[in-house]
């Protein structure tokens, strides 16, 4: 054996001095090592060029730095100056560096040559593609039916939504726009609009002492993942934050909580109501709760005194005892009682929630009850509580001054007949509604969206997309070939988020807004083009004068129009250098509702006090014809009156209050919702059973889905480094449920619902509640590229470095084949977690 000591000497003397040069041990000896902000090639030692931008792998939109090595994107890391993600970015963000060079990208416009869905394509030029689109769009417009152009998109950037939806499509004249951000969030957002008038919430983990979690997997898959996970982890270890997680399975969030409390799917509402019962019946609301209840509406009586409100709440909640909730949810009454007490007396405490609680038939009620529990304990909008989200406020160019009257096809809104407040559009059911309505879009285009994979009722969705009698002409705008693009007539290759300009206005976890710019690291590959630029060209071909020539110019203008960016961040050029900007003197925004409104403001021209509700509103801004009419029909009787909202009277003073967002509510925190009551629904949060769960037989189970930390639905499936980690999604089943069915770990399963069946592999594990199946929702792909599905895209490149090393077989279970498209009755939220299934062993 080689003598070690001599060997080391030998090593220094000869071995690899060039390969592993011994540099100065550290540049500044003794100074601590830096984390990031600069980067060097592992191969050449050359310093990389850093370019700031924004990640686009998931809706979190973290600030990033891209590092260029000789013009090629080599690496991505978190932007160290960001006050949101604080220099960190997740596995998906890291893997983004490979996305530009994804071998399954679409690099030229493609036109279908065979039957739809057969996968036979021809490459065409952009000129041909745009000629075809222009001809069709002109035809619709000339016939006076521009609404036949239907545009459907998923999560897109703030600037893309403004440029495409509000400027280009509005100038063209179509209002047939479907914004499918409702897959996961519309129940929660609707509950928020109903209670505090804003859409998004933020959880102040920096200051919280106690976190009560209903069905959020914030440590794996939140829409503000890195920013929140980083803060929550820090507070958990450094500030002894205590966290309780109710979930049907042991998510990583549950695993890192002080306690995981398994719960029957769809019964979070019962537990939350019982906790509200404990807080009220044991008088645990305290001074903070009492103070907050002043700002709450708890009955039809807008002038109720605080004491009366407490009596009303106590009376409403009296029957929701922990013992009652135990029977429904399976959570022990004493646990409910204890956790309710801890939550009420630990200050500040933050209640958090997500799809696990809200993607149910009773989702809006559940989220409203969660708002109620936060409200009665005084944990709304306070440091360490559940806060109204704060984000950057950009001003955008609005395009031509005179736009045609926006027209839309009727199926866009026909959900209103079955859904009380479909404010977020229920985009997941649009295809089915097209089929049922009899109306046919002349051109159906989708962008940043993969409904064939992402929606429920997969078979029906695919059939509709294939059916030329329902959708005569379809266009996919995407950088990658996926399940839905495969069913298009025309594919326009989009730039990835690494190749384009954008503005994002994401939620700031520290309650101080951060302004952020996305900019290209590299030119789009092949002939790919940013779709925003394509819209600018289409506008030109359609003789529409947008007022800007490209997405870059649009964003440049937005930087001029947004005063703080223009003055303090040095506009577009300044943002290009720094990537993110925030006002260093800004204080975190809490208790905005308590801001007093001066008498001078209340005396402004047109401002009225609505005596019935205590709302000060401006009848002129609300576009009412006359003051007399405004007075006679009042604030609540005027459609759109909320646009004129000024202040809310509470006691003898006028406050900023909880400003209405998109619904006609008062400035009070509406625990009692007159809007829901008017629709014949309970005004106060009330227990609602899930109809399908009422009578389940012993052999039936509830199917639930979840997301993992290395995938963003179907968006990241072709990231080899990610799918290498998550490429199997066995079906989680509790040993009790498994034994009852003679199932052992690794058994092949058939899961059946009325829609059909899917196969899977059993993972018998104590980390899921009995009676529940849990399966991740990223796999079972049939398109999406070689790493995602095993199927390369048409005209795909060879990936010589990686192809031969792919060591797993693409596969897995996609539960959406048997989860029906099922809108919840208030918001239209897709009920992902309600499907009742049966299970059997596959015969070998």
């Amino acid at each position: 054996m080689v003598d070690r000591r001599n060997f080391i000497k030998l090593g220094i003397a000869t071995a690899g001095a060039q390969l592993l040069p011994i540099r100065k041990v550290m540049a500044e000896d003794g100074t601590p090592l830096k984390h990031g902000g600069e980067d060097y090639s592992q191969f050449s030692g050359n310093q990389h060029v850093a370019v700031p931008s924004i990640c686009g792998q998931c809706p979190s939109r973290c600030a990033i730095l891209g590092y260029l090595d000789d013009g090629k994107l080599a690496k991505i890391e978190g932007h160290p100056d960001s006050i949101r993600n604080q220099g960190r970015v997740c596995a998906k963000g890291q893997a983004g560096a490979a996305k530009v060079y994804d071998p399954d990208r679409i690099l030229t416009p493609l036109r279908r040559v065979g039957p739809r869905g057969q996968g036979e394509w021809e490459k065409i030029s952009w000129d041909e593609a745009l000629d075809e689109l222009t001809t069709r769009l002109k035809k619709f417009r000339d016939a006076g039916t521009p609404e036949k152009f239907v545009f459907h998109h998923g999560w897109i950037s703030d600037s893309a939504e403004k440029l495409i939806d509000d400027v280009f499509l509005a100038s063209y004249g179509t209002g047939s726009i479907i914004k499918q951000t409702c897959q996961q969030q519309s129940a929660r957002w609707t509950a928020h609009e109903l209670t505090w008038g804003a859409t998004a919430d933020n959880w102040d983990f920096d200051n919280a002492r106690y976190v009560l979690n209903f069905g959020s997997n914030v440590l794996e898959a939140h829409t503000n993942f890195v920013s929140l996970a980083k803060r929550l982890t820090k507070s958990t270890v450094d500030h002894d934050l205590k966290m309780m997680t109710f979930d049907v399975r042991l998510s990583n969030t549950a695993a890192n909580s002080d306690r995981w409390i398994p719960i029957k799917p769809g019964t979070d509402l019962a537990v939350v109501l019982a906790m509200c019962n404990v807080v009220m019946s044991e008088d645990l609301y305290g001074r903070d709760g009492e103070k907050f209840i002043d700002f709450c509406l708890v009955s039809e009586n807008y002038n109720a005194l605080p004491g009366e409100k407490i009596v009303t709440l106590k009376k409403h909640l009296a029957d929701y005892t922990p013992e009652w909730a135990e029977k429904i949810s399976g959570v022990a009454a004493q646990d409910i009682r204890q956790i309710a007490r801890e939550f009420a007396i630990t200050k500040p405490a933050c209640i958090i929630s997500s799809r696990g609680a809200a993607a149910h038939y009773n989702g809006v009620q559940t989220e409203r009850a969660i708002q109620m529990l936060a409200a009665i304990t005084g944990n709304i909008d306070n440091p360490g509580g559940r806060c109204q989200a704060v984000s950057a406020q950009w001003t955008y160019p609005t395009g031509p001054k005179s736009k045609p009257v926006s027209r839309k096809l009727s199926f866009i809104d026909d959900i209103a007949s079955t859904t009380a407040l479909p404010q977020f559009g229920a985009g997941h059911s649009v295809l089915r509604r097209i089929k049922e309505s009899g109306e046919r879009p002349g051109l159906y285009m989708w962008y940043h969206h993969n409904p064939a994979y992402a929606n429920g009722s997969t078979r029906e969705t695919v059939e509709i997309l294939k059916d030329e009698s329902l959708l005569p002409f379809t266009v996919a705008v995407t950088p990658f070939y996926d399940e839905t693009a495969a069913l298009a007539d025309l594919i326009l290759p989009d730039a990835t988020y690494l190749e384009r300009y954008d503005i994002e206005a994401a939620v700031s976890p520290g309650q101080v807004p951060e302004y952020a710019l996305r900019q290209p690291f590299v030119e789009p590959q092949g002939e790919a083009r940013d779709f925003k630029d394509v819209c600018c060209e289409l506008a030109k071909r359609l003789d529409i004068k947008l007022g800007f020539k490209s997405a870059e110019k649009f964003i440049d203008k937005a930087c001029k129009l947004t005063i703080v960016v223009k003055k303090k961040a040095r506009g577009f050029r300044g943002m290009q250098k720094i990537g993110v900007w925030h006002d260093k003197k800004a204080q975190p925004i809490y208790f905005a509702y308590r801001e007093r409104i001066e008498n001078a403001t209340l005396a402004d021209d047109g401002v009225l006090l609505d005596e019935a509700t205590g709302v000060y509103w401006n009848w002129k801004t609300a576009e009412v014809e006359s003051e007399a009419k405004a007075k006679s029909i009042g604030y609540l009787g005027t459609p759109g009156a909320f646009k004129g909202y000024v202040a809310q009277r509470v006691g003898y003073a006028a406050y900023s209050g909880f400003r209405p967002g998109i619904l006609n509510k008062t400035g009070l925190f509406e625990l009692y919702s007159p809007l829901l009551a008017a629709k014949g629904m309970p005004g106060l949060p009330t227990y609602v059973e899930i109809p399908d769960h009422v009578k389940m037989s012993d052999d039936e189970m509830i199917l639930t889905t979840f997301k993992v930390n290395v995938q963003s639905l179907s968006n990241t499936g072709n990231g080899g480094w990610l799918t290498e980690i998550h490429h199997e999604n066995p079906v989680w089943i509790n040993p009790v449920s498994a034994t009852a069915r003679g199932i052992i770990d690794g058994d092949a399963l058939i899961i059946k619902s009325p829609l059909g069946e899917v196969s899977g592999t059993a993972m018998v594990t104590p980390t899921v509640a009995p009676g529940v199946l849990a399966v991740s929702t990223h796999l079972g792909r049939w398109q999406g590229g070689r790493y995602a599905s095993g199927n390369p895209a048409p005209f795909a490149l060879g990936d010589h470095r990686h192809d031969e090393h792919q060591w797993w077989q693409a596969g897995g279970t996609h539960a959406n084949w048997i989860i029906p498209d099922n809108p919840e009755p208030v918001s239209g939220q897709q009920c992902w977690m309600d499907t009742v299934v049966t299970l059997e062993k596959a015969s070998s």
Partner: protein
Amino acid sequence: MSNNSKPVTNRRAFVQKLVGGVAATTVASSAVALSSAETPPEGKKAKLKSYAMLIDTRRCIGCHTCSVSCKSEFDVPLGVTRSWVEYTEKGTYPNVSRHFLPRLCNQCRHPQCVDVCPTGATYKRPQDGIVVVDSGQCIGCKYCIQACPYDARFLNPETKVAEKCDFCIHRVSKGLVPSCVNSCIGEARIFGDISDPNSEISRLLTTNPTTVLRPGKGTEPQVYYIGADHSDEHENNRGWYDVRITTHRKEKGRR
């Protein structure tokens, strides 16, 4: 807390204190080995360092960011890993837990890979204690891969040369922490010089209970853990709780 503790000035004494009584003799000999190689490459100012990593698993959320940032840093081919995260699940319903164990080369004080390398391609750098592979000298014989008790090495399928984590020497030499430390969302990883008693890692090592992987191997790993769950599947024989390990890499089992 640690600011008040008496600074340890003598490096050898510090290291002994750190590792504890059992290994005291081996540590001493290793310290001698290091000091004997004390030929500062660039003048008198350069001090010998001893780099180590401390992973606070209480802050680990199992997000695999370290794994993927490592893949990106080194363009690591599919199927092989320098850095990975294992999940350890155990218990019976509803009393169950899942712990996360980030893994990488332990940069052992007594690296078994070095002992078996026939060409001298693998060696422990005297100036900072990082175990490296000289790709020019490696003949791809895989002895080191077999010898490593931690399964931290692999043959790069592209270059056919043994590879493993090298604490990102190319970054550390430029004054940057390793990529996994930079990217860790929970800030679970602390990297530094344990020969400097005032470094953050030294302070944390002296003020927290820490463990290393497979201490019985006598390798003296330089990757330390706070709060690590060392349960393994062989404990299933005991019968009172079930352990399930998921490695999240091609090698499904732990060595």
